[in-house]
């Protein structure tokens, strides 16, 4: 069965029970975000971007199956 792998980083990882977990497959990233907000209400107030298969996305993106999703708070390297 298809499923998403969700990875959380930085301050987001601290707000979730696990840093990496499976999540039921979703149609697109908007649906995914809503499902994540339902499951983890803390995320609603947080600033983060989404990457799908290691590519940052700027708008709602169709999911075809088994993607790796990353929740990325603002970068602070260097």
């Amino acid at each position: 069965m298809e499923k998403l792998t969700v990875k959380a980083f930085g301050i987001i990882a601290e707000k979730l029970p696990e840093q990496e977990f499976y999540f039921p497959q979703q149609q697109d990233t908007e649906e995914l975000l809503n499902s994540l907000y339902d499951e983890y209400p803390d995320l609603r107030n947080m600033d983060f971007s989404l990457a799908v298969n290691q590519q940052l996305i700027q708008q709602n993106t169709r999911l075809r199956g088994n993607e790796e999703i990353a929740l990325l708070p603002p970068f602070s390297g260097g």
Binding site: I11, F75, S76, G77, G78
Partner: protein, 146 residues
């Protein structure tokens, strides 16, 4: 020649010996006239009534390496460079230690300097890396880049 993504991450601080070695390695390339180097050093900033004693870096490594590769290619395309090196720490780096080492070399100074500056800017803005400031009073604070 196709270039492949190469590792940019170093566990812990970047030593001055490593920097010296990297400079030394370029003495055989006698078409180089100019090197530009940027070093990021961990500051003992005051935070929440305490002082930063170290920063602990984590990264989304696979994505960061892809992104670093993409940035490298774009910079090589834009500037006439002989070499380009990027090293970023992961894990704990104490105040006064080096956490970022960016190194560009070119025939002439303008290319090396401009490329290095753009590279640092893009690394700071585009690499999925996070720093958590560890405070002397045992507190912690996620770093925010300005």
């Amino acid at each position: 020649m196709t270039r492949k993504p190469k590792n940019i991450f170093v566990e812990g601080p970047i030593s001055s010996e490593k920097i010296a070695q990297s400079i030394q390695n370029h003495s055989a390339k006698t078409n180089i006239g100019a090197h530009s180097i940027f070093l990021g050093q961990v500051r003992a900033d005051e935070k929440e009534g305490s002082v930063v004693s170290a920063i602990e870096y984590t990264a989304y490594e696979e994505m960061a390496l892809l992104k670093a590769f993409e940035i490298r290619e774009a910079i090589f395309e834009k500037y006439e460079l002989t070499c380009m090196h990027i090293y970023h720490s992961l894990g704990e780096v104490k105040t006064g230690e080096i956490c970022l080492f960016v190194f560009t070399s070119s025939k002439h100074r303008e290319m090396a300097i401009d490329a290095c500056e753009e590279l640092v800017e893009r690394i700071k803005n585009e690499l999925p890396v996070w720093g958590k400031e560890l405070l002397e009073n045992q507190g912690e604070k996620w770093k925010v880049n300005t």
